[in-house]
């Protein structure tokens, strides 16, 4: 075994992750090569130091009680719901049906309102070049930090140049009664507006497409964020873009 070969295996040897044959070869080399032996000793002393208990952060007093009571609260919430459901099954079922249909209806109409705001935002952004972007950059590392301090969340900004959608910039928008992030991507002569804000529900939804006033819209929820994308680009390419954003 050469010194070079030993270098590539020294950490695995130190961690006891090598098979016996390899370990024996390494031990033989360490007996014969002073330089490697010293380097191994140094690595080993670093490992010893790392295992020192003083590097561990001791659990603060009170954390166990806090965690225990949080979990118990969670458990009791589940338990009481469980009993209640069996006590008055028919009533609860009826109530549940009403709640679910109500949620569904109100969700649909809210989405409808938001969709028209999205189209309005998109049209407005294209009316004058100065409306389109507040920060002009192809670099996500410039655009993302620009939102710091302007929004109470940090929107994910992806570089999709390789996928044929270079980033053009970003701006602030006001949609669904809150400030949101608007990212602008470009495809040939077309602009794609991407509106992002924190979702009101934790559950993810799959992209759904719709057409409004001749514009294509795709909407979904992922990782706690609501996404709306809108463009005059054809639906197939826009859906591809949505998949790239989601990936």
């Amino acid at each position: 075994m050469t010194c070079q070969e030993l270098q590539t295996m020294r950490d695995a040897y130190l961690d006891g992750e090598l098979d016996l044959a390899r370990s024996l070869e390494i031990e033989k080399h360490l007996r014969e090569c002073a330089s490697c032996a010293r380097s191994h000793e140094e690595l080993r002393s670093l490992q010893m130091a790392m295992k020192s208990d003083t590097l561990r952060f001791a659990t603060p007093p009170g954390l166990e009680r806090r965690v225990r009571s949080a979990v118990r609260g969670e458990s009791e919430a589940g338990w009481s719901l469980f009993r209640w459901r069996w006590l008055i099954p028919s009533v609860s079922l009826a109530v549940l049906a009403i709640i679910v249909s109500g949620l569904f209806l109100s969700r649909t109409s809210t989405d409808d309102l938001v969709a028209s705001e999205i189209v309005a935002g998109h049209v407005r952004s294209l009316m004058a070049p100065s409306h389109l972007i507040d920060v002009l950059s192809e670099d996500p590392h410039t655009v993302k930090p620009w939102f710091d301090g302007k929004l109470d969340f940090s929107p994910p900004v992806k570089d999709l140049t390789q996928r044929g959608f270079p980033l053009y910039g970003g701006r602030l928008e006001y949609i669904a009664n809150r400030p949101v992030a608007a990212l602008v991507y470009q495809r040939r002569k077309h602009f794609v507006n991407v509106f992002i804000w924190p979702a009101s529900t934790a559950s993810d939804t799959k992209p759904t497409a719709q057409v409004r006033q001749g514009y294509n819209l795709v909407h979904w929820t992922a990782a706690g964020m609501t996404y709306w994308i809108v463009s005059d680009l054809n639906l197939a390419e826009l859906q591809q873009f949505a998949q790239d954003l989601l990936a």
Partner: protein
């Protein structure tokens, strides 16, 4: 009755790993009160998912949830810290072991080491904590951090190299 026995079983198997979860979260978030919040969230999530836990190593299981909770928290609160992921394809810097000004082994100062470890990128910090403090195997770390075993090995090697360089640099400054 099911919920009562679920709680008892959860408390018996998962609560003992509180120290490991807190230490891990503190190293990832580098802050006590954020770590406490995230540990509480970790346990709530763990309790919800506990029905899906079918034996196996309960500590690794909990640490996986803790790690996800930490990354989610960082994404939402300090996303800047996740913006420059390390390059796993990078070569490990060539060693210069011939250089005589090497670390004096017995002199590794725990405080210096703690600072050096805190300054490591999060990908290095997490494998070091899991390997050295929790004693997990490469295979367990690979599953937990969702990278191949080879990547675990190279991250550990690079992390150690960086720690050695930082410690050697600081010692030389002091002398």
């Amino acid at each position: 009755m099911e919920d009562r026995s679920k709680l008892a079983s959860f408390e018996a198997t998962i609560l003992p790993h509180l120290g490991a979860a807190y230490n891990f979260a503190h190293w990832l978030l580098r802050n006590d009160s954020d770590a406490q919040d995230v540990v509480q969230e970790t346990y709530l999530r763990a309790f919800r998912f506990f029905g899906g836990f079918h034996g196996g190593d309960s500590r690794s299981w909990l640490l996986t949830i803790a790690r996800n909770a930490c990354y989610t928290w960082l994404q939402q609160n300090r996303s800047r810290e996740l913006m420059n992921p390390i390059d796993d394809a990078a070569e490990i810097a060539a060693t210069d072991d011939a250089n005589p000004e090497t670390l004096l082994l017995q002199r590794i100062d725990t405080e210096l080491l703690r600072n050096a470890l805190e300054e490591l990128p999060i990908e290095f910090r997490e494998v070091m904590v899991l390997r050295e403090m929790e004693g997990l195997s490469y295979k367990e770390i690979a599953a937990l951090t969702e990278v191949p075993i080879g990547t675990v090995m190279s991250r550990l090697a690079r992390a150690r190299k960086r720690l050695q360089q930082t410690l050697a640099g600081r010692l030389n400054q002091e002398v």
